[in-house]
Subunit: 592 residues, 2 copies
């Protein structure tokens, strides 16, 4: 089974040398000094490696079991969950007014990567709770906050999101779950929900469901959807779990992976629910959760790749097959470690350069969220709104691809369950689907986000690229290896955006047929930008003679791989986009 080595050094480098967080003008960032973040990251890393990673294969093998309406999580999950709560990890970035520690979302994300790499299925129990906390924080009443937030922040109670029904997932206008008003101001919720992650389990003493439903007589479609809070146990006068509510888990999905997390079918039979926010404004409230969840899913995608890479690397260093072209690297052994072979290195560099670039992008995205929320920065808010579908879609598609490549390194051993790499592939696969399939992310990006506010956020992004290129224009090496390729890729992105502007009005299908390619094109430019910034930070450290020169040289070499071998994909995506919808839409439905 794979062991897990927390990437504390890389995270510290990103926080303090690339993002320079302690100097950022964001309330609360001042405390984020290197010693402080190192202490948090090291402790989280220890838990990840020692407590969570060993339970990952257990969760995969055992899965969850439903008996008489009760879901049992895999052996060891309950004890580990208790330790996570006791250690305050569920409260890291939560509101101090309700018992949270008030740290930046950025630190929560860094810690979250480790937890997700070590055990994605386990970490989702608290991940869903985190999303529910955010939604209540923004849209809940003071009374709801007072009752629910403190218990959710400690992890004593957990949370869920209930959107999908058997007849609708993406098209939420079709939901049928009803909320009938009662005289006491509560609602009777009736309906069936499916694919509810952590919908029922034995880790927490209560489960707080956030449920989309329609109040009879409201508007048609998504404009008639409201959000309700439906606790598994109704809180009594002291706020402790009281009467059992009329909500039950009626089945568990049998899935390709993510076995340690209970994916539940839920049945509401006139369950007592409480309106969150205004009637018929449920979609807005749900999007608060969903945007955060989408960033979290992008994180999961590369976190699986990060963990899989470690397993592939271990194998490549230990397995002896063949000899290096340049002469034996292990002359006393029967053969050389396969790490000497160019194609094995290609696979590893492909993963490594993706994972480290992705980490930089997610950290930057988390900083933008902090800037938007803590410094009320509207520009940062618009930018992260634009980047959210890119982070979700690109990092999960590429993260999955990287787990497949990691599994390829050991050959046959990668296909057996013993090595554990197949679990990362199977677990990562869901990240391309849930919280909106990646096709929906692309639609959101091209059909909605791109044009928001006259395309201002997109222009802001291009300005940032230009600023980075300009700032370092005098560094000839940085220019050749990083800035010129970034400029070329950014030009491809601009050409694609222009194509959509020109064609989108004439024939919207021409934009939508290229939406997934656009998302990938944008993703590559984002990672190109991250690598340019990373390389600049590494060059600065080398110039100043700071720290471990080998670390910075490695960063530069890894970035050069990305720029040389990943980034040229922008040209392919642009070429596809510019062919428009003709070849995509040509066939009559009965000729497929």
């Amino acid at each position: 089974m794979p062991s897990y080595t927390p990437p504390v050094d890389d995270m510290q480098f990103l926080l303090h040398e690339v993002l320079q967080v302690a100097r950022a003008d964001i309330p609360g960032y001042g405390e984020m000094e290197p010693d402080f973040t190192a202490a948090v990251l090291e402790e989280a890393g220890k838990i990840s490696a020692e407590l969570l990673a060993p339970l990952n294969a257990v969760g995969d093998a055992e899965g969850c079991n439903l008996e008489n309406g009760v879901v049992r999580t895999p052996d060891g999950f309950k004890a580990a969950y208790g330790q996570m709560c006791a250690g305050g990890w569920t409260a890291l970035d939560a509101d101090p007014d309700h018992g949270g520690q008030g740290m930046p979302y950025l630190l929560h994300s860094a810690v979250g990567e480790m937890f997700a790499s070590a055990n994605m299925a386990f970490n989702m129990y608290q991940g869903l709770t985190h999303g529910a906390i955010s939604a209540l924080q923004v849209h809940g009443s003071d009374a709801q906050k007072a009752t629910y937030l403190p218990r959710m922040i400690t992890g004593q109670w957990s949370g869920t999101m209930n959107l999908t029904e058997p007849q609708c997932g993406t098209d939420l206008g079709l939901i049928q779950t009803r909320a009938e008003p009662r005289p006491d101001g509560s609602y009777a919720i009736t309906g069936s929900k499916i694919w509810i992650s952590a919908g029922e389990h034995d880790l927490a003493e209560n489960i707080v469901h956030l449920v989309l439903a329609k109040i009879p007589g409201g508007p048609e479609g998504t404009r008639g959807i409201s959000l309700f809070l439906v606790p598994k146990f109704l809180p009594d006068a002291e706020g402790n779990p009281g009467e059992r509510n009329a909500v039950a888990c009626t089945g568990l999905e049998s899935k390709m992976g993510l076995h340690g997390n209970a994916t539940c079918a839920m049945r509401y039979e006139g369950a007592t629910g409480f309106l969150v926010g205004e009637p018929h404004k449920g979609m807005r409230a749900m999007f608060t959760m969903m945007n955060e969840a989408r960033l979290g899913v992008g994180l999961q995608g590369y976190a699986q790749a990060a963990a899989a890479y470690q397993g592939a690397l271990d194998f490549a260093c230990e397995r002896l097959q063949g000899r290096a072209l340049s002469g034996p690297a292990n002359p006393d052994g029967p053969a050389d470690p396969i790490l000497v072979h160019p194609d094995v290195r290609r696979m590893l560099m492909h993963q490594k350069s993706l994972v480290e670039g992705a980490r930089a992008l997610v950290f930057w995205g988390a900083e933008l969220i902090d800037r938007a929320n803590r410094a009320q920065d509207a520009q940062a808010d618009a930018l992260i709104s634009l980047l959210t579908p890119v982070i979700k879609g690109f990092l999960t598609d590429k993260g999955f691809e990287a787990t497949v490549l990691a599994q390829q390194v050991p050959g046959g051993a990668g296909y057996t369950r013993d090595l554990g790499l197949d679990q990362f592939v199977r677990d990562a696969r869901i990240t391309m689907i849930y919280e909106g399939t990646n096709g929906i992310q692309a639609l959101d990006l091209v059909g909605r986000k791109l044009a928001l506010d006259g395309g201002q956020a997109m222009r802001d992004f291009f300005d940032m690229v230009k600023a980075v290129v300009k700032t370092h224009a005098d560094d000839a090496e940085l220019k050749a290896d990083f800035l010129d390729p970034l400029k070329a890729a950014s030009k491809d992105l601009q050409a694609a955006a222009m194509y959509f502007v020109a064609e989108g009005v004439k024939k919207p299908e021409n934009a939508l047929a290229g939406s997934s390619d656009f998302l990938h094109l944008f993703g590559h430019v984002c990672l190109g930008l991250m690598w340019a910034k990373t390389a600049a930070a590494a060059r600065a450290a080398l110039a100043e003679g700071r720290g471990d020169a080998g670390f910075y040289e490695t960063k530069l070499a890894t970035g050069r791989y990305y720029m040389a071998r990943h980034l040229p994909a922008t040209r392919l995506h642009l070429a596809r986009i510019e062919t428009g919808a003709d070849t995509v839409m040509a066939l009559p439905a009965d000729r497929f």
Copy 2:
């Protein structure tokens, strides 16, 4: 669970309109008239759809079980195997001198695609036997052929390939299994083999293992390897299964997929083996099996994609979510089928154009094998030798990618086991690994095949491309949509080959760092060539007003998608190749 619709029309089109087999100057092809092949394909299709496909999910769920040395295959496999044997499907292209039906390998391949689409794990039991038959046919003694071939051809006995050992897979020079000569001319085989597909099972009354081992005192490395025939039961004087040989299955691998096929660890304890061919020439004999097996694996790759596509398409036609941009397609329903959405179409066209192009390539490859074997055509032999790693590597990488895309179409439902699409992903995954990982295919292509005979086969390939472009140069529509893109892609392939010639001698790592990209570049040009030929055949039929015009229009539209949206990837692969080994080999081993 997915149903399976045999692609008989497409196969008939390929055989008779693209390849025009009945007119090919290959012995035995004269009988391949449309009515005859249609009858065979329809019967094979019926068995695939009605007998094999329903057992696919059963095999996945039950897997194989080892108890007291006996492997039980999943429920229904034994009866189905009996029906396959009784129907003569194991004997289709086998030598009539030993009871075979003597049909072309091409027809065996067409039938094999259906069997593999319907139930890949099941079909491998007879697939391995087919490979063992081929090896014995070429390298076995007359006595060995007389004893073993008739029983293997009927499927009464099955076959295996035993190469891998715990300490070596790719690097067979390291094998430790010993073959000690005995006075009676037989050998005592001792050693451990792993990952032996169909190494033990309950389908056949005897299992004929072909085993690589070293005769003590022979040359070092791969030059000291010999091939042995080791039957599970030693034939008695009448050739019936007699004494149990000292070979046993000691364990089954727990794998990501392919659960219906037993992947065995085998232990040979002084088992009686018989030399096949000459001592120390085992690698040559094994390559007879392996080349055929590699083509068969390429076929499996796209066959999984073909089956997965059907499942995705069914879902896309039935699932109602959202509305078409161009106005409701299903105005009386609550929403339109998701097939109306451009990104869903993109995913389906991506799969469809790949699968149909891949089918054309494998059919052409099978025809080359027939031409080489039946017409002793050395040029065809050299060409299929060059194309074998491309067919194996490209069609399994892209086939897997297509199964992942098929699983994406239904979103969450694709991730559940109920829909059955995840099995195609998990089963297809092994095709990128076994019979030589795709990295090894790329190494074989660039390090060996490309330069064989001074690069003659590569030149022959380019000549074929040029000939197709020239033949149809006057067809303006064909030129714009198919020939010009093919020419551009072929130019990229030439540039890559030139780069390897120029750099390969100076710095071989520059060639090997680009080997996987070269394999993909080559694969795309092959499929571009297939689509150009396919389009020309469709245009001819339309011009003559033959048959179902909609079928030919669909072919052209599907081909246009390939040329517009798949083929431009050649540019990306070339760009990567031309960056050489620098970024790939830059890191010291301890900095990964």
